[in-house]
Symmetry: C2
Subunit: 540 residues, 2 copies
């Protein structure tokens, strides 16, 4: 064991503590050949946080708390443990582009499913893909939409989990329940794993440190790993209360650690249809993935594998974990005022209680509301009884049957060069505010069915229009006729903002031919999955 | 009595009935010298129907039900009884312009108060003003924000009321309660007036007709006038239930009929301070009204006069009357779906009950709401528990303390030549959609602090810019530099629509110099009250 120095400041104490825990469990020569991959499940349909989330803009892309989006926070959280080039995002084609924009540096890999087929298929595809990189590797499965108050505890759980996984266990991460939650699954723990006295010691050293440092980490934060007796799906209130009172029940966080080889073996054993599909994709490559996926069983890894396997272990801990699964989850995460309200943005509150009001720039005036969620966006507002938050997805279903776009996209669309906001659409015209980052430019493009009027309202634009290249500043305008190749560029160090008035008989975003692009979009759009094994590609 | 012909169709039956009732009460030679004026109280602060109503756009300007706004409906309702040039609107300077736009033809007169001082002052000012036109006249006082299901009954009440008023009574219109409403005032009736056997006969003929015609008018629709025992302010639920059970209680509709001379006498008797103020205004004219008004007592006519006078009479009837006083009033007026919801506009409803959801073009998704009012506009949304609808005015108070405009104006502002909508305001720019009616034009104007870019998106514009006059069509643009005289005109028979991008350091609506205007706005704006007695003027 390394000598323990007396800390000379809080940060040093932190460093010494991490050093001690890490090296106690992972002496320098242990597991050095085991590559650890992180697989972050980031699919989802963008329904439960509608209208902030959309089909093409799921909740993991939202800054629901703090300065980072949920997916950015997920990557930051594991950065101390896993390098960016061993992190892979599993997502779908609708959401991939926006996730790529958010995660440009350091850039993870992407594993793209043609359609969502629940977690068993997603994890299977990831395991198959990563086994080609390192069949002996360890795979940590995380979700892109979790909140974790004490990330240090999670890191310790993952380090311990990696150790246990290397012995052939399927390890789940358990979170100590803090309330009789009926929206979560539960894990019942059995006997402690006998082989991890080191972990026990680490747990004890955690206790000692907590007592000594008084930094708020409870002595229960670290617990030795246990076997799993059983999984319990979302219970009713009565059962949830019993689980809460017991010391043997933990929330199933949906975070897992296992050897790639172990999970592939278990898929072979318990889900032969999935195993066969993965084999086809592995052997025949990208062309088959769409066809194979359409026949895969759509079930969760819990139901398909974990409830059947005898290799399960759980690492329990208290880390302030929450699944950001619906608007109600904010109640457990964000600070409230004296009346129990969470008020964000331009809210006028007159006598509300226990309500969540998520405004934007428009005024949201709430009078005398109890247990109501309000979420406002440019083109849609949700008002929902807290008890019915799960039914928001029905709203999205209804919107899909209408001709609108409010279930699919936001008015503001983020692009690698900046963003645009659709301010208004009318018969024969569409109005956009376009913001271009400093030193960025859109593609060289043309449209067959519309012309564009541009008025610069802030910054300076370099405009390519046909053969001409010229510069215009604030309060100047230009005209791009239909069919003419053009490009908008911000050559300066300040953002460029223009108002664009499009005129034409058809104004869809797909009326665009790209001739050159800084972001690789000039080639014909790929359909389905491309890259090695059809699924892995890196951000350009 | 005129002979009664057998009706040959429903309309003829209607005509005969009206002829009979009218001539029974008003033989041709009776009251022929009494001019009947209507005074419509249309002030208000635009708070209780916020955000649909605004300080400059009160609820009487809204089409809350049907094709007409509330104030248009009020004028239509009394048109059979009182010619337009005997109708006067009492309002305030903030709201006068928009009311004028709505009531251009036939055009009523306007009596403008510098500030609101409740109904006693408003009625006193109107009585004083009209006494100069005909001191022997009759004055009908109406509100601009009432709903009346059976307008024929009201007309009959007013005809009868005019008769009674000519005998020196202060006549109030009572409405039979249909529920134990706690938001209305009540009138307790005493003995029947002995002098109006004719009215009794009319009432009986009303019965007979109802029995014969079977057209849905209840036999109680017409009742003989009574003396008033007492007024009761908004009662609690228990008292309201007792009033409902009694046959002697009626809702105080706030509609009155009296001789101008009678109400002025009573003001002299019971409100000497008001009487003195009115005398000053009458003698000294427009200059004094602002000063005088600031010292007038701000009390209602009910409290100041009616509760004290011994000249009161009430005409009770059932006409389906409602005061459109708050969002809750819609419950009594608009049709509901099976779950008790009133859903207007682009609403997605998932399991709501007894809620009022007033959407516009944006999607309003409501999930599991009970007894909630939602009202959406371009720049503000209200979500309010039905039980707290009276507290909406607090929202407006809070907004006044912020720097925004959401309590004062709408994004869309109606003008006599068309309308404009502020689509977005940013640092250094403002974006408007401008619609110009066929064959209409804005004023010849200039701005000192902004220039304007115009893009025509529909129709054809004739543009005056400096010395040039030219025509541009859809997908064409033009530029109006700062300080240059310009004019926008629609010379065609179809509406003209343009997008305007304003650029400049200051973008307020008051940066405008007008040189010529079709709507009389080129002269410097009048401050306070102008015209005869300082208060009466006609729409130009």
């Amino acid at each position: 064991m390394l000598p323990v120095y007396k800390p000379f400041c809080k940060a040093h104490n932190e460093f010494l503590y991490l050093q001690r825990v890490v090296f106690q469990w992972y002496p320098p020569n242990m597991n050095k050949d085991l590559t650890t991959f992180a697989v972050i499940l980031a699919g989802g349909s963008g329904t439960r946080f509608w209208p902030l989330s959309r089909e093409t803009y799921p909740k993991q892309l939202l800054k629901i708390f703090g300065d980072q989006t949920l997916i950015q926070a997920t990557l930051s959280r594991i950065a101390p443990l896993i390098p960016a080039d061993q992190i892979y995002i599993v997502t779908n084609p609708q959401q991939e582009e926006q996730i790529r924009f958010q995660l440009q540096a350091p850039s993870p890999g992407f594993i793209t499913e043609p359609i969502g087929r629940n977690t068993a298929a997603a994890i299977g595809l990831a395991a198959m893909t990563l086994s080609k990189k390192d069949p002996n590797g360890i795979m940590v499965v995380l979700s892109a939409d979790h909140f974790i108050r004490d990330e240090r505890v999670l890191l310790e759980q993952l380090r311990l989990g990696r150790e246990i996984a290397s012995q052939g266990y399927l390890v789940t991460i358990g979170a100590k329940p803090t309330r009789p939650e009926t929206a979560y699954g539960y894990i019942q723990t059995g006997e402690a794993l006998p082989d991890f006295q080191g972990a026990e010691r680490a747990a004890r050293s955690g206790f000692a440190r907590s007592d000594a440092g008084g930094d708020g980490i409870e002595s229960v934060a670290l617990r030795p790993p246990h076997r799993v007796v059983r999984f319990f799906e979302k219970p009713d209130r009565e059962k949830a209360s019993l689980y809460l009172q017991s010391k043997d029940f933990y929330w199933n966080t949906g975070m897992f650690i296992w050897k790639i080889a172990t999970i592939l073996e278990e898929i072979n054993r318990f889900m032969p249809a999935l195993a066969k599909g993965l084999k086809t994709i592995s052997e025949q490559g990208a062309e088959t993935i769409k066809e194979v996926y359409s026949h895969l069983p759509s079930i969760s890894i819990d139901y398909g594998i974990l409830e059947k396997s005898d290799k399960l272990a759980v690492i329990p801990a208290e880390m302030g974990w929450e699944d950001v699964g619906s608007w109600n989850a904010l109640d457990e995460i964000l600070p409230k005022n004296e009346a129990g309200n969470i008020l964000i943005g331009n809210v006028v509150n007159v006598g509300c209680n226990n309500s969540i009001i998520y405004a934007n720039s428009r005024v949201i005036a709430a009078v005398g509301l109890d247990d109501i969620v309000v979420a406002d966006t440019d083109d849609a507002t949700l008002i929902c009884s807290k008890g019915k938050a799960q039914e928001v997805k029905q709203v999205v279903e209804i919107l899909k049957t209408k001709k609108g776009e409010e279930h699919r996209v936001h008015r503001t669309v983020i692009r690698p060069w900046g963003s645009y906001t659709v301010l208004e659409e009318g018969l024969g015209y569409k109005l956009k505010r376009i913001m271009v980052h400093p030193k960025s430019r859109l593609s060289l493009q043309s449209h067959t069915k519309r012309s564009e009027h541009w008025v610069v309202v802030a910054g300076t634009a370099r405009v390519t229009c046909g053969e001409s290249v010229y510069t215009i500043g604030a309060n100047q305008s230009t005209f791009v006729p239909m069919g003419v190749k053009h490009r908008l560029e911000n050559p300066m160090d300040e953002p460029l903002q223009i108002i664009e008035v499009q005129c034409g008989g058809y104004l869809g975003e797909d009326d665009i031919a790209r001739y050159a692009d800084d972001f690789g979009r000039a080639a014909p759009a790929a359909s389905g999955i491309t890259g090695p094994v059809g699924a892995v590609k890196k951000v350009m």
